[in-house]
Symmetry: C2
């Protein structure tokens, strides 16, 4: 048997854990609940106990484990220091050091969860076979991660890959959670797509199946209707595609990745979404015929455990 | 005596050459004319002959030269392949391999000149002491270079650092050289600043010292007048600062450098320009108080030879 590695993705509700061959095959995955009480002080010990128990059940001695990676929902300094993780109650700690001690000293490396998910997609997902990718996760919000030469670019202030907070839309009036106005997240997240649909319904009389949903319309409703040719839904997706495609074009003039990997719930719309994005991206990158591709993520919610496991392999 | 390295910056008019200590001190610099005839076939041999002659004059044996770096005015593939260099007449060649042979086999590494200049500023210029910078050169056009972990990010299609061709201005109607519309280069280059001044003069009646220059107004006129408080010149610089500051904000959400280094002729306006840029950059990065700084480049036209010499030290 070859060496193994462990990937841990800490979320606000549950901690996802996976055991992998170092060649990338997932051997076993499971979850433990995230206990947020008392500043999240039990999260790492619960995780460590569960890892040790599971390794034992699978007859994998700790000597066969190269190490563990840890995806954290907040900024992680290069030293492993975490100043604050709002969702977990963590403050002022070195989670990778703590987890390593709880796992009898095996190496542990940590990173921001969005960046770690991008690394996972590069390793075994939609970005497999590429060294340089930018991942964009279109969920409730918009997250991102930049990978260059198979490594996470975290940025000097932990802001690299904050694609959701690229200012892109000048005519936006509502504020974004970040304190800005007109961020990518406000238009290309599931929340943003639904809001754009509500705005379109309010501002014009185009007949649409979306009107039946009223203010409860979701991004999925919009994408399903757009695929069926619904005129208003297609208008919404043109606006979304315009701004997100433009943002990808801007990013490609900065790091010029081999591919953009699009993940998150909104990406379930598949090639229909990719085609809209590429059309607008292509329009804003006339400088060269050779340009980044846009592909779908493949790992879904497992991207985090894959990427965390990959962290330890450098 | 310690080891030396050579930096070569090939331009359309002259080839700049510098001999450096590997610790970064410039020992000697000079230029040779760029002979563009016959597809630029003499450029490298002229350069090599001049380097060998100068080393001899300086009593530096070739054994003390660690290698040479070569900045090329066009895209360079990771293999060193150059498909085309319009300004030089070069096509389909490996200049680093050719130059190495002409220099009796010492190692030669090449890179795009804008990227190489950024590396130079990181090594011994405005970005000295930082590992991660983004350089923006505001000259006739707008060039750029992205350095992460002291290395050039060239991009998979040679487009990384093409900051000048980030689309930023939706209400622009003229086309950019790249085929796009509304690029950073169209507003923040010396050419762009002068054009914006002509537009402002044509579209309003604000009294201004710039009116004396009429259609011959230059970016320097605008910056000089703005520093003196000229209302119309300040209007122009607010527009320029808005768009360039916004572009820097977008870039900082991608790679989050320690500092942006601003070079080129326009940067001679000094801290006056930096303050305007930072004001707008700061406005579009509300997500964190910890953010990139903006500093002036220091090496002027020598950035290319510094960066080329640095190329060989990895």
């Amino acid at each position: 048997m070859g060496m193994k590695c462990v990937g841990v993705d800490v979320g606000g509700t549950s901690v996802k854990i996976g055991i992998f061959e170092i060649t990338g095959e997932l051997i076993h995955k499971w979850e433990v609940p995230t206990r947020q009480e008392e500043g999240g002080k039990y999260i790492l010990s619960d995780t460590a106990a569960s890892i040790l128990k599971t390794l034992k059940e699978l007859n994998i001695p700790l000597e066969e484990v190269k190490g563990a990676g840890l995806g954290v929902p907040g900024p992680v300094m290069p030293s492993g220091y975490v100043e604050v993780c709002v969702n977990l109650g963590w403050r002022d700690m070195y989670p990778e050091k703590e987890l390593s001690e709880m796992l009898h000293g095996i190496p542990v490396k940590s990173g921001n969860d969005a960046n770690v998910a991008a690394l996972g997609e590069m390793w075994q997902g939609g970005g497999k076979g590429y060294d340089d990718i930018v991942m964009v996760t279109l969920g409730t919000g918009v997250g991102g991660g930049v990978i260059i030469d198979q490594k996470i670019v975290a940025g000097k202030h932990g802001l690299a890959g904050e694609i959701g907070h690229v200012h892109i839309r000048d005519d936006e009036t509502e504020s974004c959670n970040c304190g800005g106005v007109g961020c990518v997240e406000q238009i290309a997240s599931a929340t943003g797509i639904a809001r754009e649909a509500r705005r379109k319904m309010a501002s014009n009389d185009t007949p649409s199946v979306l009107r039946a949903f009223g203010d409860n319309v979701t991004a999925k409703n919009v994408l399903d209707a757009a695929k069926e040719g619904d005129a208003l839904a297609l208008e919404v997706m043109e606006v979304v595609g315009h701004y997100l495609g433009l943002a990808l074009a801007q990013i490609s003039m900065v790091t010029d990745p081999e591919v953009f990997v699009i993940g998150g719930g909104v990406s379930k719309a598949g090639s229909f979404l990719i085609d809209i994005l590429f059309k607008h991206f292509d329009k804003y990158t006339p400088i060269s015929k050779n340009k980044s591709g846009i592909v779908l993520a493949k790992l879904g919610n497992d991207a985090g455990i894959y990427g965390a496991a990959r962290l330890i392999l450098d």
